[in-house]
């Protein structure tokens, strides 16, 4: 009775199937991929700026000097000065803060709500699911920027509004993704096994299924984060932002893009590059994560 037929063999990592890679392996692969490294450097740089920008910045990003406005880049002002004579370099550095607060919060909100909706609707299906998905479809028929715009016109351009509205819209998109993942996940036998233990539905949804759909959720989060930055910058560009003295890339671009045809490019170029590098960085990370989960 005590014969052990399977010898206490070393844990079989990829023996049976090279394709299934254990989690640690997955992380290692991720951290090693060049896309991820580049993305992490870019995003890391801006995160540092967001955290310590005020200390790093050579000048007070809000200090104006109207008689020295729109001065081209020079030793004094690496990136030149803006329409009020403020130091563009300092504003770009410090400007990371605003967007790196709002965008992740908005995306997080959307991810949390969307994941919850997706889990519940995908798990229960039926009428609630049908109705929810129709509403989601209806909402998604309207471009995000329009919804955001309406909300901001309605509620004022506070940080909170921006977070709420973007979170709200994203939650629907994420709900769809999560729901799709849950639909296939709920067909798996471990869900039946849980029912055969008399587990409650919330446990099955959040403890059993959720960890298994975290892959798509993480991927969605990173991808959406890029879009959130894009959207927030666009809203700022359309003139929605709080106090204009606070450095904000999108708004700073908006304030200066009209000068470009007068040959004043620096006040637009540098914040644009900042946005672009941040989003590219996030997308590189998203891409790397998605690829690791695909394996």
């Amino acid at each position: 009775m005590t014969t052990i037929e399977d010898p206490a063999a070393p844990i079989q990592i990829p023996v049976r199937d090279e394709a299934t890679i254990a989690r640690g392996e997955r992380l290692r692969l991720l951290v090693r991929s060049p896309g991820f490294i580049l993305g992490a450097i870019l995003v890391g740089f801006w995160v540092v700026c967001a955290l310590f920008g005020a200390m790093i910045a050579p000048q007070d990003p809000q200090a104006d000097d109207i008689l020295n406005k729109l001065v081209a880049p020079s030793g004094d002002h690496l990136f030149g000065t803006d329409r009020l004579g403020r130091d563009v370099f300092s504003r770009v550095l410090v400007g990371a803060r605003e967007i790196l607060i709002t965008a992740p919060l908005a995306t997080l909100l959307g991810t949390v709500i969307g994941t919850a909706i997706g889990l519940v609707t995908g798990y229960y299906r039926g009428l609630v699911d049908d109705i929810t998905m129709r509403i989601v479809d209806a909402m998604l028929a309207v471009p995000v920027i329009i919804i955001a715009f309406l909300a901001i016109v309605a509620r004022g351009a506070s940080r909170l509004t921006i977070i709420l509205v973007i979170g709200f819209v994203f939650s629907m998109i994420i709900a769809k993704t999560v729901r799709a993942a849950v639909l296939s996940e709920r067909e798996l036998d471990y869900v039946q096994a849980a029912r055969l233990r008399n587990e409650r539905s919330p446990y099955i949804m959040f403890a059993e299924i959720l960890p298994n759909v975290m892959g798509p959720v993480v991927v969605e989060f990173t991808v959406r984060l890029g879009y959130a930055i894009f959207t927030i910058a666009t809203l700022a560009f359309l003139g929605f932002g709080a106090d204009p003295s606070i450095p904000d890339w999108g708004r700073d671009i908006e304030q200066h893009y009209a000068f470009i045809n007068g040959g004043i490019w620096w006040a637009v170029l540098f914040p644009s590059l900042a946005i672009a590098t941040l989003i590219v960085g996030i997308n590189l990370i998203a891409d790397a994560i998605a690829q690791t989960f695909e394996r």
Binding site: V142, P143, V144, V153, A233, F237, I260
Partner: protein, 317 residues
Amino acid sequence: MGRFLLKRLGLAAITLFLLSVIVFFGTQVLPGNVGRRILGPFADQAAVDNLNERLGTDRGLLTQYWDWLTGLFTGDFGTSLAQNVPVTELIGNALVNSLKLAAFAFVLVVPLAIVGGVVAALKRDRLTDRVITIGGLSLSVVPEFVSGIILILVFGLWLDVLPVSARAPTGASILTQLEYLLLPALTLVILLFGYIARITRAGTIESLDADYTRTAVLKGLPRRTVLKRHVLRNSLLPTIAVVATQTGYLIGGLVVVETLFNYPGMGRLIVTAATQKDMPLLEAAVLVVGTIFLIAMLFADLLYSLLNPRIRYSGAE
């Protein structure tokens, strides 16, 4: 297939109805009073009340919604509060403009992105692939106001080869109109290329890796035939869906591009209507954009099912 279509149509109709509810009640959250918005801050309160009564904006919301909905069915979309012309007239103009731009952008970007995506898939993990995917990705994350401005500067002002605003003089020939639309369309190409190419690449890779492709290769078919007959047919399915999902954005979400290139399309119409609290215009415009999106999705479903016999015949079995 008839059954499949019918089901899709039914779902779209429900979605459309929900959309109308969302649009109508959603726009009610805009602050301020309609009459006050029209007459401006300097007007007399009595005049404002008067106007509200005349416009019917002092009635219950449900009544207003019902009237609006029934109006829609009789083709009456209401009258613009700010411009005092039928909403249909304003939307008609803007919609035609938006459709032109969207169509042009699609015509440019879809073939380009498909070729890009397929090439990337064929050269998977090689330099060409990296250039196309990473390059496309990087381009697509540059906000439109940045890429648009750069295009204006380079082609419109420095090289001076293309017009900087998108609106051709009235009565211009199609070709001239296209010339005017080129810069904004290019801005959209930059934005969409990476995205569509990516999806195409993924679809192509999936179908390149599929067993049926292996079967085709092992049959001894030439590579070209394998690609044309076996791979592309199936690999473009996801691309269709993705292209369709972009229509909503292209018709109604181009606020920035339309502003930059002074192009009176739906995006700007909606923004103007919202800031002016021109409710009938705003509601109708958003509804139209949503409807077009839904139609595009329906169309994509149809196309999808035409290309995918599994769906086409599932109703029949």
